[in-house]
């Protein structure tokens, strides 16, 4: 008997179909994966189940009873809870205030003491103790996620939906989360696990429904799946190479050297502590670590976006400490920034305008401060073709392109400048497998041409696959350097958590 059944769900936004005739069943007590690429319709489907959207067509059954979910309140009443990808917590409020916020049976005058007692008892049952009187802004990311889970359990949720829950966690925290999920299902809770990470799905889930372009591609039992490749093909609809082919690196001369770099922010917090790095031509140095451990600050200090407190940055044996961004760029550095929309491109401008952002003041892009549009058009068309940017024309507003195509033209712009050093931050964040593999292969191809690459990523798979050497950052410090061949997940995980 199915615990939850969604039948023939269709959701249209104006002309876009996000879900088309989606049907799937979840059994009681199982962990059911919802696998699909970005834009495959996973989140839309779950937002329908949680009442954030109403479906255009289709029905939902819970324990064989037809239910109607107009808003999250109905979902909560039915025992459905969701841990959102971006936590739905209020940082300025205390833990216990967040827990009871909006509950139906709250009295007009709140009794937080009683609630805190109940909360603490429940938390210790799952080994997820959190001080109920702490403010949420003081909690770590892992604790915030635990709070989200406890919030749902406090509301007696029977069905818990996890939307990409591991994206922000260290490997150790992921393991803990999986333990909690197993405990929950053992108690009879049912879990829906949204992810595009095959390894995790193979580890924690019992059953997997694959979505592609808004439709159900297949539903498979995990125990019947013998290799990940099969799931990956279902997800993207064609055979994909999961392993990136790469030759051994042939390191040449030192391109970038960072010596004893320190950075303090305006609150006198040490965000970077004596960082020493060296990258040679023809090699990829991967910086791994959980978001927010100093990676952004390090890159910003190198590229001139932030001024380091002390230390030196040498490019091609040339002291570039304290250079402005423009001076650094002129030293032969290209930068794929961490946030595509905020730093990498100007959404409102056309593709060709975005493509010349770095070079508009140089010949042949412009002569005597007058832009040569004829040449720019021709050159932009060439770049789009070369880097596989799918667009109706170079005059298209860049915000209208898919994430993968946007990232492709950012990469095109940066590599076209023929830099000695390419800094790539989260180059595949938010991209589907196809685009990810393409961008990664371009980075490797560029390395093979003799450039140095500094890759920053939170995805362990990406770091392990394409870097030649791996550096792990934790709390503004470098925890260790490993060769690609010697690196393994467990050791990296411990380094990322600051344990060794």
């Amino acid at each position: 008997m199915a615990f939850l059944e969604m039948r023939h769900i269709t959701k249209r936004f104006k002309n876009v179909i996000a879900n088309e005739d989606v049907s799937f069943q979840v059994k009681k007590g199982e962990v059911h994966a919802l696998l699909g690429e970005n834009g495959a319709g996973k989140s839309t489907l779950m937002n329908i189940l949680y009442g954030m959207y109403e479906p255009t067509e289709g029905e939902i059954f819970l324990e064989d009873k037809k239910i109607r979910i107009k808003d999250p309140k109905d979902a909560i009443d039915q025992g459905i809870g969701m841990v959102h990808q971006h936590f739905m917590l209020i940082p300025a409020l205390s833990v216990i205030e967040n827990v009871i916020l909006g509950m139906k049976d709250n009295k007009a005058v709140l009794d937080l003491e009683v609630a805190a007692k109940k909360f603490t008892k429940m938390a210790s049952k799952y080994n997820m103790e959190i001080d109920p009187w702490k403010k949420v802004e003081e909690l770590s990311i892992g604790e915030q996620q635990r709070l989200e889970i406890l919030k749902l359990l406090y509301r007696n949720a029977k069905l818990l939906i996890f939307d990409e829950p591991t994206a922000v966690l260290t490997p150790g925290e992921v393991e803990f989360l999986f333990k909690v999920i197993r405990q929950l299902t053992a108690e009879g809770h049912t879990v829906i696990f949204i992810s595009h990470k095959l390894t995790e799905i193979m580890e924690i889930c019992d059953c997997c429904t694959v979505l592609r372009q808004g439709k159900v591609e297949a539903t498979v039992l995990i125990k019947d799946v013998t290799d990940k490749q099969h799931l990956a093909s279902l997800m993207v609809g064609k055979n994909v190479e999961l392993i990136t082919d790469k030759e051994d690196s042939k390191p040449g001369k030192v391109i970038l050297k960072v010596e004893d770099l320190n950075y303090q922010d305006s609150n006198q917090l040490n965000l970077l502590e004596s960082i020493n790095l060296e990258i040679r031509s023809g090699e990829i140095l991967g910086i791994s670590g959980v978001d927010g451990n100093g990676q952004s600050e390090l890159i910003q200090c190198i590229t001139g976006l932030k001024k380091s407190s002390s230390g030196r940055v040498m490019i091609n044996d040339h002291d570039c400490t304290g250079y402005t961004v423009k001076q650094v760029l002129n030293e032969g550095i290209a930068h794929i920034p961490e946030d595509r929309h905020k730093m990498g491109m100007i959404k409102e401008m056309t593709i060709k305008e975005n493509l010349i952002l770095m070079s508009y003041d140089k010949s042949p892009y412009s002569k005597k401060s007058i832009l040569d549009w004829k040449w720019i058009n021709k050159h932009s068309e060439k770049l789009c073709k070369l880097y596989n940017v799918k667009t109706p024309s170079v005059d298209e507003i860049s915000g209208n392109l898919s994430g993968g195509n946007q990232q492709k033209f950012v990469v095109a712009r940066e590599l076209d400048r023929d830099p000695d050093l390419l800094i790539a931050m989260h180059p595949s964040r938010g991209l589907d497998i196809g685009a990810t593999k393409y961008i990664q292969s371009q980075i490797i191809k560029y390395r093979d041409k003799g450039a140095a690459v500094l890759l920053v990523s939170t995805e362990l798979d990406e770091i392990l696959e394409i870097s030649d050497r791996i550096v792990v950052m934790y709390d503004g410090k470098i925890m260790g350097t490993l060769k690609q061949k010697e690196a393994n997940r467990d050791e990296l995980g411990l380094l990322m958590a600051g344990v060794i």
Partner: protein, 305 residues
Amino acid sequence: MIDTITSFLASDIRTAIPILIAALGIVFSERAGIVNIGTEGIMLTGALMGVVGSYMTGSVFIGVIFACLSSMVFSAIFAFFTITVKADQTVVGTAINIFASGFTITLNRIVFNVNGNIPKIDVFNIVPIPFLSQIPIIGEALFRQSIPVYIAFLCVPIAWFVLEKTDIGLKLRAVGENPKACDTVGINVNRIRYGAVLFSGLMAGFAGAFASMGQLSFFTEGMISGRGFIALAAVVFGNYKPTGVLIAALIFGAGDALQYQLQASNTGIPYQMLIALPYIITVVAICSMVRKSNKPASSGVPYIK
């Protein structure tokens, strides 16, 4: 000397009260995420409608009801445009202020006829509290006042209690911080915001009524003269808390009280300078505030699902 202090305190409290009442209302709307820039205009409307109500019925209390109802109509318009239509709060608030300015002038001239004599209306009388008003120095200032002054002071702990200790207060604070998160736990964000804005309108109307019938005995055109904006400043200075707002209102009121006292004592300072004093104090106070602000994270941002 003691007389001077007593009268200074009394006049400080009297001038602080309209700011305090309006600011307490603004605390609620700000904490829910709406900056009610229209407070100035809504106070002005309350000031006139209070006088009209009192003039027509002969009762100052019915006048206050007139003031509060009309102000709630104005704030309902503000709420509709900022919450439902999701228009820019500054623009809508400014429109309300401009409209209220013209509306009160026109209505005042229609009802009371500019050149006619100012009719006598029922106003708030001093109601001394037995015994307490006999306390030296502060007794006179605190306990020989009119009813709205007592109400305003009582509102401070009540507002604190509602915000910090009740379910509705928790929801209100949450909505101002992260409306999306509130949506996911089943809170109707817009309903909370409407309630908060209507309440801030009610308080602004009450504040206006006190200005025209507690401080003065009639309506004059443009009589709020920036006190709605000072109330907004008091909320920032008071760090979005009822007690903070009380202190801020008393400080800003002190500027006004000082100005009266200096004018009366013939110091030789040009009176234009003295009139500017409360406004200068407001600007300096706000600029000198360098500390962690309690400002709600989603203040001023419309919530779009």
